[in-house]
Subunit: 208 residues, 2 copies
Amino acid sequence: MSKVTCDLSISSDGYSAGHNQTEERPFGDDGGDGWGNKLHAWIFETAEENRAEVDQMTAASVFVMGRNMFGPVRGEWDREWKGWWGDDPPFHAPVFVLTHYPRDPLPMNGGTTFHFVTDGIESALRQACEAAGDGDVSILGGATTINQYLAAGLIDELRLHIVPLTLGGGTRLFDGVPPLNLEQVKSRAASSVTHVTYRCHDTLRRTR
Amino acid sequence: MSKVTCDLSISSDGYSAGHNQTEERPFGDDGGDGWGNKLHAWIFETAEENRAEVDQMTAASVFVMGRNMFGPVRGEWDREWKGWWGDDPPFHAPVFVLTHYPRDPLPMNGGTTFHFVTDGIESALRQACEAAGDGDVSILGGATTINQYLAAGLIDELRLHIVPLTLGGGTRLFDGVPPLNLEQVKSRAASSVTHVTYRCHDTLRRTR
């Protein structure tokens, strides 16, 4: 069975993004000092040191993301938003986007196709698993989407990348998620980030 | 100058204790499965593997704690509560307890004396630093007390011990604390806990 994984960069106080996302500021309020970028600097500025974790993030066969991660458009698809990533998104695979508003599949360059799913997280995951075959499915985010999957017991492996700063507010991982029995299966300190991989036990997936 | 440190065991979602502390349950609600103990199992059950961190926790010359960490008594000191730790507490040093209710110093066996401070966190820290001389001062907890010291910019080094479980509620580290600029100075993975040490920059102490 394919594994359902999740990689998330979070601050030391557990936030993955601030409030008030806009097109100019995908990670929302940043208190004026660009922490939205700081949260992901380990991927771009110290990629070599973090090669294993970066490779792991992109190794899944299929991806799932929430609508806010896909873009700042709310409500009906009244404009031709194609994601934050330009014509050749870095996924090179099917990406299932959770939304309440139907939209035709959106093929991009490089093998990425965005599929819009309107009937809930379980349906999106089921479609993603079918598309993945034996490959893994990665729940990309944001934290609100990940929290829904965690609460539903649908994530097998949670890989956190804990960045040394606090935000004091925003979208918080684990917010509203009932207590979880985790197993720390891997943990590694890089110079400016700590990587921790948890296996989620008692997930519903295992009993299906 | 002596350093102000803080060691705290937290869950993966940042909680150090649950709601509804009682004399029988110092860590409050545990959802019936004793996670209050689970949060600290790394100290007792795998002490050898975590020797460096355990030694570091107790290396300070003087300690500060909040009243709820000292005990479940609220309001006036209407009973002879002497802490959770028996006649010979593990501190072997002065311990300054934050409270709104005056009480005479309480000498215990083994060198521990509890001093009760009623005029605020800055006063308690000042008294602790005086008593420590060149030694370090450790803010023991709970998280509510630590958050006050963090918000006031009075902690130099924050040492987190992140335990693989989530609680979903309780007393949360960083709750209500404005954004902090942290530096990850050390991080180490043990088998069932990840230790991360942060230096807090721009603390008020440095500018005094």
